[in-house]
Structure formats: C-alpha cells, structure tokens
Amino acid sequence: MRAYLPDYDLRAPKTLGDALDLLATDPGVWRAFAGGTDLMVLLEFGALRHRNFLSIRHLPELRGIEITPEHVTLGALTTYTEIQRDADVQREFPLLCAAARETGGIAIQNRGTLGGNVVNASPAADSPPALLVYDAELELVSASGARRIAYRDFHTGYKQMDMRADELLWRIRLPRTTGDLKTYYRKVGTRKAQAISKVCFAAGARLGGDGRIRDARIGLGSVAPTVMRCARTEDMLRDRTPDEATIKAARAMLAQEIAPIDDMRSTAEYRARVAANLLADFLSTLKTDGGASDIAKERV
C-alpha cells in the first residue's frame, strides 16, 4: 500500500550546522535523506516507518573527493557516478569503481550516494565489500564534534550501526596503501544490471617474492547479517601459496565463517556455494596471474 504523503515531512536545512542542530535538539526525530534511492522505494511500498527527514543533498561539506598524501577522502554524498569519474579513485581503488559501476543503472548511479549505501546498512549493499577491503574509515559528525571509526567495526548487527541519532556520516576515508593489491570484484545477481546481490565479493591480495600470499583481504555481502571481512579465511591464507590445496582449505574455512540465509533473492546453499566459488576464482587468478596488474573482474 502506498504511503499517505501528508504524514511525511522533508526539510532542507540551509547549512550543515542547521542540520546538526536539528539532529541534536530532537534526537531520533529527524533522519538524513540523501539521494533517496533506497528510502523512496520504502515510501512507495508504504514501508517507510520513519516520518521526518532532513534532505542533506545540497550541503557542500558532505560532497567532494579530497586527496592528501596519505588518504583519499570521499564526502558521504559522493555519487556512484562521481566515484567512477574520478581518476585517482579509478587508479588506486578499482574495487570501489567496479562496485559503483554495478550498483543500479545510470539513473541510480547519478542519484545514489556512497554514504547512503553505508548507513542504509543493507547486508546486500555493493560498495561496502570494497570499502572493507580498503580498510575504510568513517568520519561521523554531530553538533558536539567529529569522530572517526574503522568501517569494519561500524555494522554491529542486522541494520545496526555504531552511530548515534544526532550524528551524520560526513566522510569516508581510504588509506592510500593498497595501490599494489591484486584485486577482484564480482557481484552475482539475477541479471547483470540493476539487480540486488545474491552474493557480492570483493578481494585483494599481495604476493611475496616466493609466491606466497602476504596480505589477503576478503569482503563479502549478502552472506551474513552485515557485510563482512572474512578475517579467519584471510588468516588461514597468509604465507601459503595459492595452490589447489590452499584453495580447498580456504573454501572450507569460508564456509564456516559466513552465515547466509534463504530469502526472496536466493538460498543459503546457493550463496555458500557461490561465495566459495568466487573465492576459488580469486585465488586462481593469484596463481596464474604472476605479476599482472589489478583485475576488476567483470564477467556475466
């Protein structure tokens, strides 16, 4: 059933300060509204339970991509289109670009924001697995100041976040230490475009001169109550060569680490099988790839 529109308020505070003051004065009453690509879907289905929103799209403090020697920092309102167009992000963070390119179609990419994808907190979101691989940090801002948190600690349960009602996601900060990772991104959905993921897999690794894995990073979506870094599988891979025995052991470890469910989009069994297959494919590229450059996988 469609929502009754007069029940909903949407205001556009003139400045970031005004927005933060409103959030602080009436904690829990107002919620941020960015590109609307998730919230408007709920509205149309009559499932948008919260009623009062602050449109933040026009606030310049939440936009833009800033480069310093140590970090690339993306404003929370950076759109998927802006991510794909930025030359520095393309070069250093190919997983994020691959995720942006495969989130929705062009119209969604023009409107949807990276920060919205993070705080919508869907376990099936496409950019978080990439952010996890890159050890992203979030900067949250409120009327009482700003704080920084590692993204991997941000999602505390299904749709639960370490974020107060008076806080806004301000920026997403990526350390510029991953340019040499061999990367792999693969989203599996019902079709190539527009689909919501059945499984979303982002990974990166470095190999030592001896061909052993020095640093493996695996981010997965749609296989647990939150997007997740697969730390146990990563630990198991460290200092091993990416051979068949390693791949077999890694598949077994991943199966223990993830907790997929049956839902409208897929089954637990299919998700577990596909996640393991993608891990195996990623590790195979390390085996065969020698010193080749980054790979952002894009296959049907």
Binding site: A3, L5, P6, D7, Y8, D9, L10, R11, A12, F33, G35, G36, T37, M40, V41, L43, E44, F45, F53, S55, R57, T81, G104, G105, I106, A107, I108, N110, R111, K192, A193, Q194
Partner: protein, 164 residues
C-alpha cells in the same frame, strides 16, 4: 487546515524551459508532480521502485528515476521531460531514429528510453555496443527485444549534431 494543506511547501524549478512554482507535499514523487500537477503524462510509471527506468527524466542534465526523487529536492533545478525533447518543427534526432528503426512498440518504456539515450550520447558521442547496453541497462522494455532500440541509438549517433 487539513494535514495535506498544512504540509505543503513552495518548490521553484524550471520544467522544459518554463519556470514553475509548485505548491506541493515535500515528499511527493517528482513523477506524480509532473504527471498530476503539471499534466505532463509523457513520463510513465512502471515499477515505482527505480528498477525499470520508465519514469526517467533529466534533472540539471542528469538522468534520474523520477519515482525516486522527492519533489523538494528539485528546488532550483532544471527538469527536462519527454515533452521538452523535440524542437519547434522537428523531432530530436534520437526520437526520429526510434521511429525509423522501430525502437518503439507499446510505448511505455519509450520516453525513458529516449531520455536515457540522450543522456548517454551527451556523455559519449560515439558509444560502442557495450556502452549502449550499459547506458540503457536501467531501462526495461518488454516488447522490442532491445535490438531495435540499440539500432536507433546507433543511427542517432551517426547523424551529425546529436545533442541532448
């Protein structure tokens, strides 16, 4: 005063070149305001959840799903719908190509498809087949099988002076 009246705000924007001040509920979908308040029924509703692209319009030159845009967010913006695409005397090159190539059948997806194609050509005047498929991937068609739509986009770019 009813809840409906109390909640309404003024939103000023330009639609197909004409300045408008709309007295609207802030969370109303741009799609509904275009169709019901302004009578611009060329913009179609398909899925209502951003999956099908039938409601695509251009906001400040960017392709958006008008079913996902609350009207408050177009304050100060310039909007182009299918009604604003043709010139005084002739169709836009993309529209003409859709006719010539059989790119329109039942017509529901066509306005969104044409705006998506215009947006694509504005970004990339010489798209490859893969670019066209990617650029139109957010627009569903249940009649044509897509090939005639892709043909129409190719024909439109072959013509000089294509500009969204």
């Amino acid at each position: 005063m009813s809840a409906d009246t109390a909640r309404r705000v003024d939103v000023a924007c330009t639609v197909n070149g004409t300045p408008q001040t709309l007295r609207v509920l802030p969370m109303a979908r741009l799609l509904d305001v275009l169709r019901e308040d302004l009578g611009l029924t060329g913009t179609k509703e398909g899925c209502g959840e951003g999956e099908c692209g039938a409601c695509s319009v251009l906001v400040d030159g960017e392709l958006v799903n008008s079913c996902l845009v609350p009207v408050l967010q177009v304050e100060g913006a310039s909007i182009k719908t299918i009604e604003g695409v043709a010139g005084e005397a002739e169709l836009h090159a993309v529209q003409q190509a859709f006719i010539e190539c059989g790119g329109a059948q039942c017509g529901i997806c066509t306005p969104g498809m044409i705006l998506a194609a215009m947006s694509l050509l504005e970004e990339n005047a010489h798209p490859t087949d893969a670019d066209i498929r990617h650029g139109l991937a957010g627009n569903l068609c249940r009649c044509t099988g897509y090939m005639k739509i892709f043909d129409a986009v190719v024909r439109a770019c072959e013509r000089a002076g294509v500009k969204a």
